[in-house]
Symmetry: C2
Subunit: 683 residues, 2 copies
């Protein structure tokens, strides 16, 4: 090892470290949404006992840096919050410096208190104030008047022997020299934890040599919908009786009102492209299809076209424009499925044969899960020599649909495509379209799902579907709300066209309700596959399987318009409560509370902006019977004083109860409701 | 934001992330010691279902990289261990690639099992084997023969229709073609979790394009003493009766045998330099000294010299050479105190006035803790314009004493000197002297103490001295053994010349014993300030203070040679047990076990190399009375099967007990022993 040479200039005595949010040491951007308060934390400190001061700098794109004072939280931790007001790539940097003026002021105060002679200290202070760069107020945020003038007057006061000058508020321009001494209540309020002198010194104190992070940290600012969304998936080729299938995209417009009325934000359609015929699967995934079998929408590509075409039975590309516009009119957003795989009939197979792997016998490699073969699907070969054209071609598909009004993409199996492709493609698309949202449909290993979130997916499907007991749910959502919260945004689905969990196979409306309540309140984003969900569709293709019998994946369905236990009213209520209470739009403030009954899960959320009421959910995990519990509410995160009275108001029923302190009793009848969604209010 | 351009070459489908050990994202080196097994962990995975393979690469300094296969632990986590065999800076890198041969082999096995036609798969495999770069074995560790020949023979077997070839062991050169089919027991043992084919494919499979970390990770390899050490501090100017003070360095040689007999490794002397007279402190820190008061050894500098001189009453610089040599002869290591501060009489004050801050009245700034003044001490000014010369001057002090045989430095208040200085100085010294060890005596805020460890201190004083209840000790050592374990090495002291905790002020031998047992077994490094400790010195300077009455810091002492409760035998036993049982030399394997009595703390350690016996400590925190408890031993980390019988053998008494399962009963009488230090042995 070479001996380290001396630095060329004297390094700062201050260090900045342990910043947050930070994803993989800065290798990937953290995520936030427009208007969401972003809290940056950092350890900033120096050797010895000198005070450190710190500034958060933020900027949008290549724009100018804006500076915000950081508040000392104790133990060398500093904090500042900003609210990004534009979409796209932001950066933050933390600057730390020695607060010589603050250190001096603190020493002066202690010495004056002890009655020690401070004449030399006043001279030291005058020197520091002379150093103070009054020009700083031009750069600083919230400068209050002419700092140079204020500094001059403060120096004059001190030089005149007015030791008490530092105990009053700084001599502002308009009042300096009037001899006015405010009483205690007249002191300026602290801002960012800094009083008026702290602020003055923060703006004007000499900072050099200051310390920063080695490089700024990236944060991608997404639309609010990336964080807070309720998704509704349906197959437009199926219909609601009495309408006969096949349905069309034009007819799908008629279904939007129902979806909007239930309070959903995103309408997600499975792939709308032409479906291949080679090795087409029949009803219930049969390998021997009947001539009238319609095939799976995920078997993309036919002579009519591939990823840039619409299935002739569904309509035309222009119908997508119309559907997207119709969604917008109703406050909905249209989401399309991006499934990058091809049937043997896809135009790319002949146009770009080099995009597929070839076997030694000259055939194209079909999808496999040995020993199973999926000969209806050709995966794209991300090890192709022609990878660059492939990447561009795939990105062009996304750009094409953006050109037709689509801004949300649910990406099918992104984990079977190269991470580097997604990292490039999502950044590439976002350069021009920061409003676009990608949902990763990857049900795979944890590190793979997390990597997809890091490389650019705004939202991710989760294991929620299989997390059923109290400890599974609690452990999973504690992890999601802490370890991965800066980059992985969960989207929780009780069901999908591929996943009918064993719990739902009972068809018990109370179990469907319980799962909906959990998804809608644990996760800021959730979704259902309907109308299967509202209509309590629950028969599996065979015992022990998680696939639906007579799945819409392989056949047209005509759904009944009504059901004695139709879940529409519950979904409407859940989405309404979500929209009304900002706490439910966030994940970071999720806290679990103890109960003495494993069938009852209790958790709370608060609004990070502090405006909305705290929400306390008490969920019954047992659809079969009445459950009672004493919940042990941790009152601190809810802002409720220890041992005080407060009201809990059930937003599902409107019922109000008066609670006291931590321990309170609940009784939940699954025949009546899946749980309580309480607001917590001063009594 | 600019749109990202396509990569110039196709990126690997594999990613490498979440490596450990890693300090602050790689900003600082991790630490380990020579011969200590260093386990590197990494997440290595690709998109899709293809297998990833991984290699750990390590090198010393700028030397050649050595490659070690990494073992898959599940969930995409890989692990490999190496034992550094040289002091100084090492680096590691993790390389990941797609294991196409492994993926193919796995698919073949599943297909053969299912009886599916594999003819095309054999062709695919032959292609992959043809790609395999048999040259790889030149670089790889543990290559077994001529890989190219083995690959050729395997291809011949497969081409001849021998599908079963992959189920036997690879056709080694010496036996290939003999048609020998080994039975199950004859399969080569797995190494690094890889069987013989895995190893062959690991060595020969095509790796490009592979993935690595953005840059290698640094690890500093220290002497074992940096991790595992027992320190004994004494003031050489004091004496043991009947010898009269002042003692000298030459006489201190006589005391080494006693220290060595008690099993200590490091003899640490407070500063040995000339002591200033200006504002000298008298006995018991009096500001009005008597003419014969000797002053504090930390008040460094007099006309006789400063940091490069020895106090005339103690001897000469050559006496340090002799003392260091005498230590070495006894298996001890001499540690000197580095206290970078000066009295007004220090030569630097006149030679380098610019190294000190000056006040507006022309005087030099003395040390302050407002409103307290320490006018006997001038701190060095790390904001000096002449900082570069100051840094060099301070480093020269350390180099000077290295030149006189000193390799261990206990650094006084390093947290009042610039972090950047320590980072440069320790790296600078280590370039030529990787054997040197620095102990940081910083009793300050957590982030500051941790930063000092990051920038180059090998060991650090801790809060142990003030951690007394079971939960304080458990919480603190759980943190030390996990969060900061890769860079912060605790050195636990029950007492120091500055710290006589309230617990010890009772003078109760059982409390002294309890604190010694805890320090010696919780922390791989520990130390005592003696003979004050063995002699149960316990009177504070005044009620509520932590300073000793009649402290050696300010006066000479003549210690009695004997004491009815002399703790020498206990210290000897503790240090003996520590040397005999490797488990106690490590921190990372520390685990706490539940007990049903808060007065009894139970914890275990194991030898990471797997050679030594597990140690289970049951410590009585209550010096006042007999305590009983049922301990709930977590048997897994001790390697004891669930619900089995095992023996625990108390290394303090030799007594053996037979335990069964997790729950066992203990009874501890503080009059007899401070606790059990059990080895855990098969019954």
């Amino acid at each position: 090892m070479e001996s380290p040479s001396l630095p060329s200039t004297r390094p700062s005595r201050v260090v900045v470290e342990a910043v947050s949010p930070l994803v993989d040491g800065g290798a990937f951007p953290a995520k936030a949404t427009i208007g969401e308060p972003v809290t940056v934390l950092a350890d900033v400190f120096a050797d010895g006992h000198d005070q450190a001061a710190a500034a958060l700098r933020v900027r949008h794109g290549e724009g100018a840096w804006r500076e915000i004072p950081m508040e000392a939280l104790g133990n060398d931790r500093f904090q500042a919050t900003f609210a990004p007001d534009a979409l796209g790539r932001w950066q933050y940097q933390v600057v730390g410096w020695l607060n010589h003026l603050g250190t001096w002021r603190h020493g002066m105060e202690l010495k004056l208190e002890a009655g020690v002679d401070v004449s030399v200290d006043v001279q030291i202070g005058l020197g520091l104030l002379a150093d103070a760069d009054a020009d700083a107020d031009a750069d600083a945020d919230g400068g209050s008047g002419d700092d140079r003038t204020i500094l001059d007057r403060l120096r004059a006061q001190l030089a005149a022997g007015d030791d008490g000058a530092l105990r009053r508020r700084p001599p502002h321009t308009e009042e300096a020299g009037d001899g006015y001494v405010p009483d205690q209540d007249d002191v300026e309020p602290a801002e960012h934890g800094l009083d008026a002198f702290d602020q003055l010194f923060w703006r004007t104190g000499r900072r050099a040599p200051s310390a920063t992070l080695a490089s700024p940290v990236n944060i991608d600012i997404d639309p609010e919908l990336a964080r807070f969304s309720a998704w509704y998936e349906f197959f437009p080729r199926s219909t609601i009786a009495p309408q006969q299938p096949p349905g069309t995209l034009a007819e799908a417009v008629d279904r939007l009102d129902v979806v909007a009325a239930m309070g959903f934000d995103v309408v997600y359609l499975p792939p709308v492209h032409p479906i291949g015929t080679t090795h087409r699967k029949g009803r219930n995934n049969a390998t021997t299809p009947e001539p009238d079998d319609v095939g799976s929408p995920w078997a993309i590509g036919a002579p009519e076209g591939g990823h840039l075409a619409v299935h002739p039975d569904l309509g035309t590309v222009e119908d997508i424009d119309a559907l997207a516009a119709a969604c917008t009119q109703r406050g909905l957003t249209l989401a399309m499925d991006i499934a990058f795989q091809c049937t043997p009939d896809h135009p790319w197979v002949t146009e770009h044969p080099q995009w597929f792997a070839h076997r030694p016998d000259g055939t194209i490699q079909y999808a496999e899960n040995p020993p199973k073969k999926y000969q209806d699907i050709y995966p794209l070969d991300f090890e192709s020599e022609d990878w660059a054209a492939l990447w561009q071609g795939l990105a062009d598909v996304i750009r094409f649909w953006i050109g037709h009004g689509v801004t949300v993409f649910r990406v099918d199996n992104p984990h079977t495509k190269a991470f580097a492709f997604w990292e490039w493609a999502t950044a590439h698309i976002r350069t021009d379209h920061p409003e676009v949202i990608f949902l990763a449909e990857a049900f795979t290993r944890p590190r793979v799902m997390e990597r997809l979130a890091k490389v650019g997916f705004n939202q991710s499907y989760t294991y929620f579907t299989w997390r059923q007991s109290w400890w599974e749910l609690r452990q999973y959502f504690e992890d999601l709300s802490t370890r991965t919260v800066d980059y992985f945004r969960p989207n929780a689905w009780p069901n999908t066209p591929d996943i009918l969990t064993e719990q739902l196979q009972s068809g018990d409306p109370a179990m469907f309700a319980s799962r909906a309540l959990l998804a809608a309140t644990l996760s800021p984003s959730w979704g259902v596959y309907g109308p299967a969900f509202e209509l309590l569709e629950h028969l599996p293709i065979r015992p022990g399987a998680e696939e639906y019998l007579d799945s819409e994946k392989y056949q047209l369905r005509q759904w009944p318009p009504e059901h004695p236990h139709h879940l529409g009213p519950l979904l409407t209520a859940l989405n309404g409560i979500r929209r009304q209470h900002a706490a439910l739009a966030h994940l970071r403030t999720l806290r679990f509370h103890e109960t003495d009954n494993e069938a009852i899960l209790c958790y709370s959320k608060t609004d990070p902006a502090g405006a909305g009421l705290p929400i306390l959910v008490v969920a019954n995990l047992d659809a079969g019977q009445v459950q009672e519990a004493t919940v042990d509410v941790d009152l601190r995160p809810l802002g409720v004083p220890y041992e005080s009275d407060y009201a809990v108001v059930d937003q599902l029923t409107g019922q109000r109860a008066h609670w006291h302190g931590a321990h309170n009793w609940v009784r939940l009848d699954p025949a009546l409701a899946p749980g309580h969604i309480f607001t917590v209010e001063a009594s």
